[in-house]
Structures are given as structure tokens and as C-alpha cells.
């Protein structure tokens, strides 16, 4: 019984860490936006990186994706999906951005 509540506490702590971390990241993102404005590239890059950090944080602490052996299958799936998604998204933006520049629909 003791061991069980111990594990329960540990798992709950994981969720709370994930929540606290996400909260911190969210607040700093919005703070950055309110304080510095988002017009500059540097600030937007920071916001983007913080968003990425939060994605990874939630994947690890909420969805329990990690590099342990038992999680490999899901990790493989997520990584492969990310690969395909990157090909699709980067390709689309590359192609359509290039078209837009060549057709003078917007300056890039």
C-alpha cells in the first residue's frame, strides 16, 4: 500500500512539474510579447523556441514519451511523423514562398 501511494505521488509530481514548467513558459512567452513587442525577429525567435520547449516538455511529462526502451515504439512513430511533417511543411513554404516572390505577390 505504501509503495503504491509512493508511486502515485511520484507520478502526480511528474504531472505537476509538467504543468508548472508549461505555465512558466507560457507566462514568459506572453510577457516577452507584452514587454518587447513581437515585431523584432529576435523576440519572435525566442517565442518560437519557448514554444518548442513547451511542446517537448508536455510530450515528456504529460504524454510520457521518453527514450526508455518501452517507449521506443511511440517515440519512433512521433519522430517519423515529425520527419514527414517537416518535409511537407518546409517543402510547401519553400515552393509557395518562391512562387510568391517570383509573382511579386509579396516581398520576402
Amino acid at each position: 500500500m505504501d509503495k503504491r501511494s509512493e508511486m502515485h505521488r511520484r507520478e502526480r509530481r511528474r504531472y505537476l512539474i509538467g504543468y508548472g514548467g508549461s505555465l512558466l513558459l507560457t507566462i514568459s512567452v506572453f510577457l516577452a510579447a507584452f514587454v518587447f513587442g513581437i515585431a523584432t525577429k529576435g523576440v519572435y525567435l525566442t517565442i518560437g523556441l519557448l514554444g518548442l520547449a513547451q511542446l517537448i516538455l508536455q510530450l515528456v511529462y504529460f504524454l510520457h514519451i521518453d527514450r526508455r526502451r518501452s517507449s521506443r515504439e511511440d517515440l519512433d512513430l512521433v519522430l517519423f511523423s515529425t520527419l514527414v511533417l517537416l518535409i511537407i511543411i518546409v517543402g510547401t513554404i519553400w515552393i509557395m514562398g518562391n512562387l510568391a516572390v517570383r509573382m511579386h505577390t509579396f516581398p520576402m
Partner: protein
């Protein structure tokens, strides 16, 4: 088939307390992961389209006139909290807490999900008052193609919460229902991940580049 020593499938799981349910969940949870990845491609494409159309405002209102960051902040906090509460429902299930505890966390999640939707709808209404309707420009079409798609997922999640709550009351904690709780939790966490993409790319990205 190789079986992992602690539980038969990775990620969110029911643990050793429920070996039978855990085993039965293995296949279906993996299938749900695959479905989520397919869904992720939907969202990924909508993000790509939004990025390519960020300048297609056709003289209509743009991000600076339309986006209300304070409301977005509130929605973000609400959705993040609901992701935690659905996780706590999961834990209550995993550690055999009374069924009422699961249903309670379900209830909290449902309230949070619904208030998220209400805030989002009022945002859309405020946007529409300023002329920000999807029929106005390509940019707004892309916006309304993406953000309400996420909202629709949240609404579906809310219906799922209600149906599953009822089923938990009717059937009790059967193996089948436990595995459905796992999938619902996965789905809900996934929606929060998408939302992070939306605030980063749609809202902040729109403000930075639109």
C-alpha cells in the same frame, strides 16, 4: 511479440494495477497514436497554408487589428490546466482511487473545455464585428480554417468526456472503458500540443509577420 517488463505499451498506460486492461489496451492505444499522427498532418498542413497566406489580407483587417492577446492568454491557461486535470483523472484511474474521483476530474476538465470554447467563440465574434470574417480575405480564410478546426476537436473532446462519464456510471470500470479513458487523455493532451502551435504560429507569428 516482445513485452516490456513493466507494462505492455509505452506512453500513457494503466500500469501494473490493471494487467488485463493494460494488455487489452495495447493494440488500440497504438492505433490511436497512429490516428493522432494522421490528424497531426491535417493540422500541420493548415499551419503551412496559414503561413503561406499570412500576407494575403487583400486590404482587409489583419492580425494587429483582430487578435486579442489577453483573451488568448486566458484560453492558453485554461487549456493547459485542463490538460493537467485530465492527467489527474488518468492517475485516479491508474491508482484505483474511487470512481467518483475520476468523474470529478472529468467534470473539471469538461468545465474548462467548455469555458475555453466560450472564450474562443467570443473572440471570433469580436473579430467578426471588426470585419474579420472568413469571407473577407485569404488570410482570414486560413485563420478560420485552422483555429476553429482545433475548437471543433475540443468540442468533440467535450462530447467524448460526457459520453465516457455516462458510460463509467452505467458500466463501471470495465477494461474497455479504462482503455477509452487512456485514449481520451491522449487526445486531450494532443489538443494542448496543437494549441501551443497555434499561439506560436497563428497568433504570435501573425503579429510578427502579418
Amino acid at each position: 511479440m516482445k513485452r516490456a517488463p513493466t507494462h505492455s505499451y509505452p506512453g500513457l498506460n494503466l500500469g501494473r494495477r490493471h494487467p488485463e486492461a493494460d494488455k487489452a489496451s495495447e493494440v488500440v492505444t497504438f492505433g490511436f497514436w497512429v490516428f493522432l499522427m494522421s490528424d497531426l498532418v491535417y493540422f500541420g498542413l493548415m499551419f503551412a497554408i496559414y503561413i503561406t497566406m499570412i500576407d494575403a489580407q487583400a486590404g482587409g483587417p489583419g492580425p494587429h487589428e483582430l487578435f486579442n492577446l489577453k483573451s488568448i492568454f486566458a484560453q492558453t491557461l485554461i487549456l493547459l490546466t485542463s490538460s493537467l486535470t485530465v492527467g489527474l483523472a488518468m492517475l485516479a484511474l491508474k491508482y484505483n482511487l474511487p470512481r467518483s474521483r475520476i468523474v470529478m476530474w472529468f467534470g473539471v476538465t469538461l468545465v474548462l473545455g467548455l469555458s475555453f470554447l466560450v472564450l474562443e467563440m467570443s473572440d471570433f465574434m469580436a473579430m467578426a464585428e471588426k470585419g474579420g470574417i472568413p469571407q473577407r480575405s485569404g488570410f482570414l480564410s486560413a485563420f478560420y480554417g485552422l483555429v476553429p478546426l482545433h475548437g471543433l476537436h475540443v468540442a468533440a473532446g467535450c462530447i467524448w468526456l460526457i459520453v465516457l462519464g455516462i458510460q463509467l456510471r452505467v458500466f463501471g470500470l470495465t477494461d474497455l472503458l479504462m482503455s477509452r479513458v487512456v485514449r481520451l487523455a491522449l487526445f486531450w493532451h494532443f489538443l494542448d500540443l496543437i494549441w501551443i502551435g497555434i499561439i506560436t504560429i497563428v497568433y504570435f507569428g501573425g503579429l510578427a509577420y502579418g
